[in-house]
């Protein structure tokens, strides 16, 4: 019987996971009751929401085809279509790559720990969880405000569009369109009465769902990055006490393997789900150092009272070496996590950037037609700000990851390593060389997610705008 245990990253990101399940993502795992009945109900719920999303999107697309004569209408409808393609793409991306998402979420199910650094670790863990929850809250508030702003602006101004006058080919008249958030074709008359109410309800539901689909995936990505950055900060902070501890360590290398192999059998934690071979390969043995008992096994052979050449007892030497081992293994775990994230989400970022580029080009064109501060200007600026904000969100956290990972070397160098033992210096040497290259997330190897990307996107928009203004 599968025993549901809320632990690891899933426990930390629990509000986000619940929101994703409620908005209809195919996140069918992580429930108490995984019986066939409930699972099929949940799958049905997710399936019906995906059906609603696809059908409404298809209706918007049909409307685009019908109104493709007028350039202004075509541009406006294309921007709307591209804007909501994000939601569909992200929704189905998640559905198709569920396995990778589950694997990434399970990465931290079996992390090592060390008695010396557990306090520091729990402090940083709490900070990470707090930041993640705050981010989810802000993004949620942003989605709600955007949804309401969109609905409110629908009721401002005239709900009309220009079409050529059927009588006089050179003139244009205004034809009424339904006062709805999105221009969409419906098989019923949506201008007034029951049809209007039904369309309005469908659209408002669809709008909020679409906005959350797009943003919740990005928020999950950013939460992973927040967690990684906090782990890196933890590693940087324990470097200094580690060096101070090893400052008087002898240069002899004991048989570390023998020392650590002997721990009682009850502390063996089998790896349940998750990364399989991957994470297991990082740790040379599964033993949690919190159960470190110095009096068992081979350690009993060591005289607990004997003092080493530098005034340290054997126990202390073993503790220091275990601390270095903890640091290295935790760092390897973080590197593995980052590569999992890149694997899982990289292609989604690439698709996002491709679609956003086209959207922003069209928005630049629309912006050149702004004459006064009216509804049109507000909508164009609203679209622009929202699209740029989406790109900024993941660029900001990607940049933070790059900065934190490259500062590990600086932290290693700035402690008093020159006073340490030869073993500690070798450790510092290898850490410095390994951390020279910063860890970064790439969009399927096409580009690196950083603030440089955002700056180039912004620069491109400004350039297109200036060129189009000159052509006008």
């Amino acid at each position: 019987m599968y025993k549901f245990r809320l632990h690891g990253l899933v426990a930390d990101m629990w509000p986000l996971i619940r929101i994703m399940q409620m908005t209809g993502f195919f996140l069918l795992d992580y429930h108490e009751d995984m019986s066939f009945g409930w699972t099929s109900i949940r799958a049905g719920y997710a399936g019906s929401i995906s059906g609603l999303m696809v059908i409404q999107f298809a209706l918007i697309f049909i409307n685009l085809m019908k109104q493709s004569d007028d350039v202004n209408d075509l541009t406006a409808n294309t921007i709307t279509v591209l804007f909501f393609v994000h939601s569909l793409v992200k929704f189905f991306y998640f559905a198709l790559r569920r396995g990778k998402f589950y694997r990434t979420l399970a990465t931290w199910n079996n992390a090592n720990s060390h008695p010396l650094f557990s306090e520091n670790h729990s402090r940083h863990h709490a900070t990470a969880v707090g930041s993640m929850r705050r981010l989810v809250m802000y993004v949620g508030i942003g989605i709600i405000i955007s949804g309401f702003a969109w609905t409110i602006i629908t009721f401002v101004g005239d709900s009309v569009h220009e079409i050529p006058d059927p009588e006089n080919a050179n003139e244009t008249i205004f034809e009424e369109v339904p006062r709805l958030m999105l221009r969409s074709w419906y098989p019923w008359n949506a201008l007034s009465g029951g049809g209007y109410v039904v369309s309005f309800v469908i659209q408002i539901l669809w709008l909020f769902l679409a906005l959350s689909h797009a943003m919740m995936m990005d928020t999950m990505f950013c939460c992973w990055l927040i967690y990684t950055c906090q782990q890196l900060v933890h590693l940087k902070e324990i470097m200094k006490p580690l060096m101070e501890l090893s400052a008087s360590l002898d240069t002899l290398v004991p048989h570390s393997a023998e020392l650590f192999r002997a721990v009682s059998a009850t502390t063996n934690n089998p790896i349940t789900s998750g990364d399989g071979d991957g994470i297991r390969a990082i740790y040379s043995n599964q033993h949690d150092f919190s159960n470190f008992r110095l009096n068992t096994g081979a350690l009993a052979n060591i005289n607990s009272g004997s003092v080493g050449p530098n005034g340290l007892t054997k126990k202390q030497e073993v503790l220091v070496r275990s601390a270095i081992k903890y640091w290295v293994e935790r760092h390897k775990h973080v590197v593995r996590f980052v590569s999992n994230i890149g694997d899982t989400y990289g292609s989604a970022l690439l698709l996002h950037m491709l679609i956003s580029t086209v959207t922003l080009t069209l928005l630049a064109y629309q912006a050149t037609k702004i004459e006064a501060a009216n509804v049109y200007a507000c909508t164009v600026i609203g679209y622009l700000v929202y699209t740029l904000a989406q790109v900024f969100l993941f660029c900001f956290f990607g940049n933070r990851l790059i900065e934190e990972s490259s500062s590990v070397m600086e932290a290693a160098y700035s402690c008093q390593w020159y006073d340490g033992s030869e073993e500690a210096k070798t450790f510092i040497q290898i850490v410095c060389q390994q951390c020279q290259k910063a860890m970064s997330i790439s969009g399927a190897k096409f580009f690196t997610v950083s603030l440089d990307l955002f700056a180039s996107v912004l620069g491109a928009v400004v350039t297109y705008f200036m060129v189009l203004v000159q052509l006008n």
């Binding site: 070397m409 600086e410 160098y413 700035s414 020159y418 210096k425 040497q429 203004v469 000159q470």
Partner: protein
């Protein structure tokens, strides 16, 4: 340097404290940016100076608002619009700098004190040549600051003289006010005030106000710029000092050994081993590999082997100690540069954001307007000032990156081949760290380098074309 002259050849060097960045600090002090009593917050003088700093910010804000109103009022007149926009932009940047520096005043002063008598000043220098490098750096800073001030002063004087030229006739009452074609009185900087500006009393009042603004504004702006540039130049200079230390590691080891044995009472045994240890660098070291001698020539006196081996270990440890000094210097320098980055990054972001706009506006004004003589000259000087607002940062930012990478190359020139394993391991760590390029950025997006400056020039050219298009249409 022969064996016999060992004890007299290395004079003991007394580190001297120089007053670095003196002129920059004085300028900042005059305009309310450098509180001399920052360490004693309860002193009434501290609060008085703080009040003065806030008063300067308010004065600048009033002027900035008056210029923005002028821009709004005279929309459409493109030639004067460009120059007014330039001044408004500059005073806006001045206010931002004032606010940022006031917010971080304590931190800025404590970081600068590291250079002016603190950790980075004389504590890590042990020879005359290093001191020379530091003094040269200061001279360079002084020269740059004075050249920049000179251009700024001459352009400000130009502005005031232009304004006086158009208004003195009115002020002295020499012309009949009802004469057709009489000049209107112009202030040095175009600004809009809600009073009648042609009234002589009002005009005199406003003229006095603008005189103060034209004197104090550039002082704040340029004073801050030269101060920050001065800090960067000193960081580059300290890297040069570090390189010199690394290249002369053996010399420093000998100096330390000398100091050490100078304290102890030396026996004749030690004296002999000492003289066999300290050898000029021109000695042939080819036999060393086989004898595994560390930093010492061939063992010539087997009878004194114990003493000799002790001396070898001594020299090794002294060389390691000298290396540790260099590492500490490097660590302090890296800390200093990261502090600079933290403190000035946001300020620099706004500066870089607006530099391309400023360059484009002033070029636009010069090409579009048909000024002649003094006016043209003044605006050309203002163009120089615009370039100088960006170029020193980018130039010395590039220099800093280059200098920090040179440390890795200088490590290669230390006597690592003869050194023990301990020395070589420390060396790999330092080289790995030094190879990471040290960059100063503006808001993490604009890296202070010459490539950024090139990009800014291109951006200003495209803005210029855009403005030209808009003015024609």
């Amino acid at each position: 340097m022969s064996r016999g002259e060992l004890s007299t050849s290395l004079p003991a060097y007394q580190p001297v404290n120089h007053d670095f960045l003196a002129i920059n600090v004085k300028v900042m002090y005059l305009v309310g940016q450098w509180n001399g009593y920052w360490q004693d917050k309860r002193n009434w003088r501290y609060s008085a100076y703080l009040g003065y700093a806030v008063f300067m910010i308010l004065v600048m804000t009033v002027h900035f608002i008056s210029e923005v109103l002028e821009l709004y009022v005279s929309w459409g007149d493109f030639t004067n619009f460009a120059s007014t926009a330039w001044f408004a932009n500059n005073y806006g940047a001045t206010i931002i700098k004032q606010v940022f520096i006031l917010a971080q005043a304590d931190r800025i002063q404590s970081v600068t004190q590291r250079l002016r008598g603190g950790v980075l000043s004389s504590g890590l220098r042990w020879s005359k040549e290093q001191d020379e490098i530091a003094r040269n750096t200061n001279r360079k800073t002084r020269f740059l600051s004075i050249a920049y001030y000179a251009i700024a002063v001459s352009s400000c004087t130009g502005l005031i003289v232009i304004s006086l030229r158009t208004s003195y006739r009115q002020l002295s009452g020499a012309a009949n006010l009802t004469e057709v074609g009489a000049d209107t009185m112009e202030l040095p900087l175009r600004a809009w005030f809600p009073v009648d500006m042609q009234n002589p009393q009002n005009f005199l009042l406003l003229f006095g106000f603008q005189l103060f603004i034209v004197a104090a504004g550039p002082m704040i702006n340029i004073g801050t710029d030269t101060f920050i540039t001065g800090l960067i130049i000193h960081a580059c200079g300290e890297f040069r000092v570090l390189k010199k230390s690394l290249r002369n590691l053996k010399q420093r080891a000998r100096q330390l050994l000398q100091e050490d044995t100078g304290c102890r009472k030396t026996t004749s045994n030690c004296k002999i081993s000492l003289s066999s240890v300290a050898v000029p660098e021109s000695t042939n070291h080819t036999d060393n590999h086989f004898k595994r001698a560390k930093f010492c020539p061939e063992a010539t006196e087997p009878a004194h082997e114990n003493g000799f081996l002790n001396a070898k270990a001594d020299v090794d440890s002294k060389v390691h100690k000298a290396l540790v000094e260099c590492v500490r210097h490097h660590q302090q320098l890296l800390l200093f540069v990261s502090d600079l980055e933290d403190m000035f990054s946001s300020m620099m972001f706004f500066q870089f954001l607006s530099i391309s706009l400023r360059i484009c506006l002033i070029i636009f004004h010069i090409t579009m307007s048909d000024d002649e003589g003094l006016v043209q000259l003044t605006y050309l000087q203002i163009l120089c000032v615009s370039f100088l607002q960006g170029l020193p940062f980018c130039w010395y930012g590039s220099d800093l990156t280059y200098q920090s990478e040179c440390v890795a190359r200088a490590m290669y020139e230390t006597p690592w081949l003869e050194g023990p394993l301990k020395f070589r391991r420390s060396l790999t760590i330092i080289v790995t760290r030094a190879q990471a390029p040290l960059r100063l950025t503006g808001g993490k997006i604009y890296v202070m380098s010459l490539e950024t400056f090139q990009a800014m020039i291109y951006a200003s050219f495209s803005f210029f074309k855009l403005l030209q298009q808009l003015s024609v249409s």
